[in-house]
């Protein structure tokens, strides 16, 4: 089986979805001739031409707004926002229209739209290129929010997103793009939205993350095991909206301890939702308070201070020790 990085896996998924369904089109800034600034759409323009792989003018609101119209009229647009830090002009379109068209028209008009966008730090980038603001999209009723953790996951989750009847925001961890390779089957496959993934079984503590942090909690679990501290269960949420509380709650009922990790700002981050759900559904099983390892309520710093901001393996290991000590 081929070992692909995430850029290649997403590219392959888009190619196959476009082959499978001619209503699938790709649009965004530099997605065509240039193949995308991260090369995620490499080769699609050559293969499908400018009618299906559309280089747009520089206008995020325009890209998403137009994609909404395309979706209403029967296409399956996959729009790219070049960096999620530039998604905010399109936020209005997403919140006021993409997320509501079904409800507003009582199901007569729907928006089967995917917005793909890189997010997150660790790439030593300029301002607005490192944010992890998934929570502000999760908070919008009517939007699904998906964050793949590795190449295999990205291909299967994106295929589901493209085939989904509703708008999906697909956050791609820029740090993971070329950092790892996994085995990715050549043939198309889907991974259902709204179902978390048990990455590693354990009994002492549940580690929960999504996107780029899944690697970190996995490594932390391995270190904890190697040091004989704990056998940690590792859960990759995959989809933040809808949130699969079942996998998390089942795990916490078993371990009695939970550590949630995200690089997004702490206040109002999705970790708060995870923690609240655990409180509501498993409080009597808890041996310790839920611990959050997160970014800060600050602007993500530029390169020189980035390492201080990002949650790392050591911080997760510390959090687990804290939970165990309680």
């Amino acid at each position: 089986m081929a070992r692909l990085n995430m850029v290649e896996a997403i590219d392959q998924c888009l190619l196959q979805e476009m082959q499978r369904d001619e209503r699938v089109i790709v649009l965004g800034e530099d997605v065509g001739r240039d193949g995308g600034v991260f090369r995620v759409t490499e080769g699609l323009f050559e293969r499908f031409g400018p009618q299906r792989v559309i280089d747009t003018p520089l206008a995020e609101s325009g890209i998403v707004g137009m994609a909404i119209g395309m979706a209403i009229a029967g296409f399956r647009p996959v729009a790219e926002i070049q960096f999620s830090g530039f998604a905010y002009p399109a936020y209005d379109q997403l919140v006021c229209h993409a997320a509501r068209m079904r409800n507003r028209s009582r199901g007569e008009f729907t928006v089967p739209l995917v917005v793909r966008t890189p997010y997150g730090g660790g790439i030593r980038a300029l301002e607005h290129h490192s944010e992890s603001m998934e929570a502000v999209f999760v908070h919008v009723p009517g939007l699904k929010v998906v964050v793949p953790a590795d190449p295999y996951e990205a291909k299967g989750l994106l295929a589901s997103a493209v085939r989904d009847p509703d708008p999906v925001i697909f956050f791609e961890p820029a740090r993971v793009y070329r950092a790892i390779r996994t085995e990715v089957p050549e043939e198309p496959y889907t991974i259902p939205l709204g179902k978390a993934r048990m990455v590693r079984e354990g009994r002492d503590v549940t580690l929960i993350a999504w996107g780029a942090q899944v690697r970190i909690i996995r490594e932390a679990a391995e270190r904890l095991a190697a040091e004989g501290v704990a056998e940690a269960e590792v859960v990759d949420l995959r989809t933040l909206s809808p949130f699969d509380h079942e996998t998390v709650i089942d795990s916490v009922k078993k371990t009695g301890r939970a550590v949630v990790v995200h690089e997004a700002p702490r206040t109002g981050g999705f970790g708060a939702e995870v923690s609240a759900q655990i409180m509501e559904r498993a409080v009597l099983h808890l041996e310790a308070p839920v611990v959050r390892v997160t970014g800060f309520d600050t602007v993500p710093p530029l390169a020189k201070l980035e390492d201080y901001y990002q949650p790392d393996v050591e911080a997760v290991v510390e959090a687990v020790r804290e939970s165990l000590r309680f």
Binding site: D55, P89, L126, A303
Partner: protein, 359 residues
């Protein structure tokens, strides 16, 4: 009921300095030999600094940045017309303009190396920090212009952006509000023909950026952006219009991005070497040098001297930059609010304790 033309407009293009180094004497702005010398020196400094920054970036000593090479005529010609009490609202490709406004090379190096302390442009310079989101800052220029007018100051505002920005909603909103409120703002578009890979012809169906002014009832003009005299002339006129009548202007400087979009881009993927080579022949610095040689303001020795002087200043700045100690983690929390909030205090303490344990 006859059908009759209701209104018709035309858009002018201003050219002063020809490629052979001769000028249109009637249109030549009044500039002393000394001023022309300073223009040239600053354009050379901007170019040398850009080239050095590129090398530093390739060595991993700087992060991603957007080069200005080839656009010195547009950029320096425009800011040369500003007074110190005017405002500059830049985008992200304006290192040359920022230097002219008094931001130091050391500070710019610091910023582009990923040290936010470099973003502290002194307030007295009336120069806003680098703004990376495309087109959004034009509205800030309108607000500052409104405030200058309200305060009874005769200062104006100049804001830079590229032709890509003209596709954004905020561009339309800014020009519209500037027209409605008649604010002293000069919208200066460096139309360098590419928004990353997308050429101007795919950015808009309009043949010029300048004509977009007409839809908002404001004045618009195109200039040859590689002709520093035309740029200076048009900007000075726009600033005078701004000061006296508080009227906004849209200037389109027709130029070319001879380098990649940023140091992360590879322009060979989407345009031909021939196209770039044709524009390299229209180099704004060389064109000015042509003129200066003919006027007797410049000879080979002086040219070498100016280049050496620029290199010396750049080298000094690089040295100063490299001696700056790295920022402390406290810097992350220092400027979120005027007063650090309780959650920030707690988070900062937790971070410092975490790193203390690791020492």
């Amino acid at each position: 009921m006859p059908i009759r033309p209701l209104v018709s407009y035309s858009i002018e293009r201003v050219e002063v300095l020809r490629e052979d180094g001769t000028v249109d004497e009637e249109l030549m702005p009044s500039l002393s030999a000394d001023e022309i010398q300073r223009l040239y020196e600053h354009m050379v400094l901007t170019r040398r600094f850009d080239e050095r920054m590129f090398k530093l970036q390739r060595q991993g000593r700087l992060g991603t940045f957007a080069r200005v090479t080839g656009q010195e005529g547009a950029q320096i010609g425009a800011v040369f017309a500003l007074r110190p009490d005017d405002w500059l609202v830049p985008a992200f490709r304006e290192n040359g303009a920022l230097l002219w406004r008094g931001i130091t090379m050391t500070q710019l190096l610091q910023y582009w190396s990923g040290d936010e302390r470099g973003g502290a442009f002194p307030r007295a310079l009336r120069t806003l920090p680098i703004s990376i989101p495309v087109g959004t800052h034009l509205l800030h220029a309108v607000g500052i212009g409104w405030a200058m007018k309200e305060a009874g100051e005769d200062s104006a505002v100049l804001t830079f952006f590229g032709e890509g920005a003209t596709s954004t909603g905020d561009f339309s909103e800014a020009l519209n509000m500037a027209g409605v409120f008649q604010v002293p703002v000069v919208f200066f578009c460096q139309n360098n023909q590419y928004a990353i890979s997308v050429p101007f012809t795919r950015q808009t169906a309009a043949p010029t950026v300048a004509q977009k002014a007409l839809g908002y009832g404001i004045f618009g003009v195109q200039v040859d952006g590689n002709d520093v005299f035309a740029v200076y002339r048009a900007t000075r006129e726009a600033l005078e219009r701004a000061r006296s009548g508080k009227e906004p202007t849209l200037i389109e400087a027709h130029t070319y991005r001879v380098t990649d979009h940023t140091t992360s881009d590879d322009a060979r993927r989407y345009r031909s070497d021939e196209e770039v080579a044709a524009w390299l022949k229209r180099d704004p610095i060389e064109r000015l040098a042509h003129y200066m040689r003919a006027q007797g303001f410049l000879d080979e020795a002086r040219e070498a001297e100016i280049a050496a002087e620029a290199d010396r200043k750049v080298a000094e700045a690089v040295e100063a930059f490299e001696s700056i100690p790295p920022p402390e983690p406290e810097e992350i929390f220092r400027h979120v609010f005027a007063q650090k909030t309780r959650p920030l205090e707690e988070q900062e303490a937790a971070l410092l304790a975490r790193w203390e344990r690791r020492r």
